[in-house]
């Protein structure tokens, strides 16, 4: 177990360094740079832009800039945002709660609904319900999120007036019920796609288990259908879902680019898009490294969890 963890740790470090090198250089390959947004400002000239670039150290050779950045990173300094000058970790930390709230609630909704749709589709294979679920999943996966989001706002906010048209809370209210009412639409829009994904996985996973000998044995013992399903089928079918959940961890914290934009949600997805738009290199690199760590961590957690939950698997 310890050896496994050490191995994983070393592998992860190598991957992280690779990610940072590729990310840094690709980012800087794109022409334009962080100062181009100011070039149309009144009175701004190339000479002034060059001066500011030099003051920010952006005129140095790329490898020097990279080593400087990486050296600081090792010392725990993730740099400061080019936009508001705050430390990158503080910037990321400021956007995490909003994303956690939205992604957490939508994941919960999609796992619960998607799981049941998948199981029901599997045990009533080729039934009307199964066909409807399959078609529904295909449609949900094909609809662009921004379109669905705008339609949802149009119907539920503008026409019916039931729910707010985006934002995380009403400025000046911020009660629990206010948060909750703002959470409904983006959660459902995000969950729609995820329900589709989870139900498809759960369906095929359940189908795999249903064909197993131990299920037939359980039925032969005279257990009720419900108990067979609950104790033998679903439990085993959930095992692959743990891996899937582990892979979902990065998206959980990485945010949803489109949904957060449409619903004016101040989360990680927005931060990433805005940082890209302004070429805020330190923040982009910060998010990149943060996501890379999450991916590695998610995989590790999934592997460990599967071993914990499934007695047939032992880590060595």
């Amino acid at each position: 177990m310890t050896r496994f963890l050490i191995q994983r740790f070393v592998q992860s470090l190598i991957i992280l360094v690779l990610v940072s090198v590729i990310g840094f250089f690709v980012l800087n390959l794109a022409p334009g740079g962080p100062l181009s947004q100011f070039s149309l400002s009144p009175g701004m000239s190339q000479a002034e832009l060059d001066r500011i670039a030099a003051q920010m150290g952006l005129d140095r050779p790329l490898p020097v800039q990279y080593l400087d950045w990486f050296g600081r990173l090792l010392g725990g300094d993730w740099g400061n945002s080019f936009r508001d000058g705050r430390p990158v970790l503080e910037v990321i930390g400021g956007h995490l709660p909003a994303t956690l709230l939205l992604m957490g609630s939508s994941t919960l909704v999609s796992v619960v609904i998607g799981g049941w749709v998948g199981v029901l589709g599997a045990i009533r294979r080729y039934s009307v319900f199964d066909y409807l679920a399959t078609i529904g999943a295909m449609i949900a996966l094909s609809i662009p999120t921004f379109w669905f989001g705008l339609v949802a706002i149009y119907v539920f906010s503008l026409e019916l007036g039931w729910l707010p048209a985006g934002n995380m809370y009403t400025i000046g209210d911020q009660s629990l019920s206010d948060y909750a009412s703002h959470l409904v639409l983006p959660t459902l829009v995000l969950a729609l796609v995820n329900v589709a994904i989870w139900s498809r996985y759960m369906r095929s996973s359940t189908l795999d288990v249903i064909g197993e000998d131990f299920v037939r044995t359980a039925q032969a013992k005279g257990l009720s259908d419900w108990r067979v399903l609950r104790d033998h089928v679903i439990r085993n079918a959930l095992l692959p879902m743990i891996t899937l959940a582990g892979l979902q961890l990065p998206t959980l914290l990485g945010g949803a680019l489109v949904t957060e934009t449409v619903f004016t949600w101040p989360g990680m997805g927005r931060l990433f898009l805005d940082s890209l738009g302004y070429n805020d290199y330190p923040v982009i690199m910060g998010i990149l490294m943060f996501s890379a760590v999450l991916v590695l961590l998610g995989n590790l957690l999934a592997d460990l969890l599967v071993a914990v939950v499934d007695p047939r698997i032992r880590i060595s």
Binding site: S41, E48, L163, S181, V262, L271, G277
Partner: protein
């Protein structure tokens, strides 16, 4: 009891955290997921009611730079104007109004010497910073020094770099010498916010001072809070030196998507649509929303087709004239911009006192354009494209990729130019690339671009049309057209050194005539911005001389 539970009992371990059973592990995972979610409740009525103590202004870009002297974008200024004051500010009519200065310096009142070299400014008494510290001439000196500080990332030093020998005469009087007369300096000062010495002067690095995220100014509003990615909140400053603000709280909300911004304007979630407001395609509908007031605000930005005169295709003035004749301006404005903008012949906004209304009006005339090119010896080749001395009238046109209306304008111009034997291919670039060195160092052939040529209301455009402002030729400025003209240089030099508005007027009228004749850029129209606010919000005033509408929130009130 199931087989699995028997197995677990056999292991004899029930410590859920160190050795969870499968059921316990699943339970833990679910509990964790549930913990992320707050309890649900019904939505309730959400059509927001206006709050008399608060105004919510929405921007489609996020204001992040709170040190007003550092590089920033328009929306940042939307906050700065409420937090800070310049020495004097520019009114909508173009006149200066004293702010931190007791009076606007001029040659007449002795504030500026007749040669423009010596300045002396009396400051207002009894002004305090938001933290209670008195404002003095030392703060003014500190601000100009900071801008010129080599290690400080000042957004621009233009004008300030000419200031020498700043002298604090008394806590309420300051003077300095200019290296050379520079008439635009007053306009630059009118948008230079004074920052506090006691907060920025004592820190090790002003680029990363705590002040930059918790600004302290002298303005009608003071800093309250920022929720990154969401909004900035300001509170009324009861001790403001002028008439204090009426509305207690000003909230600047970031709504990244323009469709959503418009929707939230309709639902009443926001009270005022700031930059970039309502898109022209919503114009018709927006006129008729009950409970909302639509504003059509002229802006100083001029849309044009900028030509790179460094390219051989554009060196013949006849070609530039023919290209201009072959633009169907009226159709572009009416069909693509819903009739909102105003056609123009000048780079100067029509609200300016220096605007030349006598310029010849462009007409759309393909025959005349063809004739002009025929006479000038540009002959059509086998493919219908004209050429002369080995130069084909073929070039690219670029603008910000994704700007759909501009892309339609390009396609429209492409078609009419094709009819006079000109081949224009569209080559659009993402904003960061487009307006990077591709633009500033004249690497383009032609560009559709909106430019605000003026600094405040000052008519000096040396930066855009002076031959020493061509970055591609080593100059410092924004003359991306590479326009070089002796008469223009002379006019700009004369106008730039003259402090008298009456004497400057004929100079800049002539300059506009010259630019209209030479056509380094083919002027299309002056922008009209669509903004809107909730009915009952009063006191809004547009200021064409500024880049942002929320410059005067202190005068806003609810009826």
């Amino acid at each position: 009891m199931t087989d699995h539970n028997k197995h677990n009992q056999h292991r004899g371990s029930f410590d859920i955290f160190t050795h969870p059973t499968r059921r316990q592990a699943l339970g833990l995972a679910l509990a964790g997921a549930a913990g992320m979610m707050l309890p649900w409740s019904r939505g309730g009525q959400v059509m927001a009611q206006s709050n008399q103590q608060r105004v919510i202004i929405a921007f489609s870009q996020e204001p992040t730079v709170m040190n007003p002297l550092m590089p920033h974008i328009e929306v940042d200024e939307g906050i700065h104007w409420n937090l800070f004051d310049p020495l004097f500010r520019i009114a909508p009519d173009g006149n200066f109004i004293p702010a931190l200065a007791a009076e606007v310096p001029s040659v007449a009142n002795g504030g500026i010497s007749s040669d423009g070299l010596h300045w002396r400014i009396k400051l207002r008494e009894g002004v305090t910073w938001h933290d209670g510290t008195p404002f003095t001439a030392d703060d003014v000196k500190f601000t100009i020094d900071l801008i010129n500080n080599p290690s400080f990332r000042a957004s621009r030093r233009q004008g300030h770099e000419l200031v020498r020998d700043i002298e604090v005469i008394s806590p309420t009087e300051i003077g300095w010498r200019m290296e050379r007369a520079y008439a635009s300096y007053a306009a630059l000062l009118s948008s230079t916010f004074i920052v506090p010495k006691h907060l920025l002067g004592e820190v090790e690095d002003p680029n990363s001072a705590p002040f930059n995220n918790a600004p302290v100014g002298t303005g009608a509003y003071q800093w309250d809070a920022r929720v990154a990615g969401d909004h900035i909140s300001l509170r009324r400053n009861p001790d403001y030196f002028d008439t204090p603000a009426v509305i207690e709280q000003a909230v600047f909300k970031y709504v990244p998507d323009l469709n959503v911004l418009y929707t939230q304007y309709k639902t009443g979630d926001i009270d005022f649509t700031g930059l970039q407001g309502i898109t022209p395609d919503h114009y018709e509908e927006a006129k008729n929303i009950s409970g909302r007031t639509l504003l059509e605000l002229p802006a100083a930005t001029i849309e044009s087709v900028a030509l790179n005169l460094g390219r051989p295709q554009f060196q013949d003035p006849k070609v530039r004239q023919a290209l201009y004749l072959a633009i169907d301006k009226a159709s572009i404005i009416d069909a693509l911009y819903y009739g909102l903008p105003t056609a123009t012949e000048s780079y100067m906004p029509q609200q300016s006192r220096y605007y030349n209304a006598e310029l010849p009006e462009q007409r759309f005339d393909l025959d005349a354009a063809n004739q002009l090119l025929d006479e000038a010896g540009w002959e059509r080749g086998g493919d219908g494209i004209r050429a002369k001395d080995g130069v084909r009238l073929s070039f690219t046109n670029s603008t910000t990729a994704g700007n759909q209306v501009r892309e339609q304008v390009q396609q429209f111009i492409q078609q009419t130019w094709r009819e006079i034997g000109v081949e224009m291919s569209i080559s659009n670039l993402p904003p960061a690339v487009m307006w990077g060195e591709y633009w500033t160092t004249s690497q383009f052939d032609s560009v559709v671009v909106g430019i605000n040529f003026l600094t405040g209301a000052d008519p000096d455009v040396s930066d855009y049309f002076g031959s020493r402002a061509i970055a591609a030729q080593g100059g410092a400025g924004q003359n991306c057209f590479q326009f070089a003209n002796e008469e223009a240089d002379q006019l700009l030099a004369d106008g730039g050194a003259n402090q008298d508005p009456e004497q400057r007027l004929p100079i800049y009228l002539r300059l506009q005539e010259l630019i209209r004749d030479e056509l380094p850029m083919l002027p299309l129209f002056q922008y009209t911005n669509l903004r809107g606010h909730r009915e009952g919000l009063e006191g809004f005033e547009n200021n064409v001389n500024l880049r942002i509408e929320s410059w005067n929130v202190k005068a806003w009130r609810w009826s």
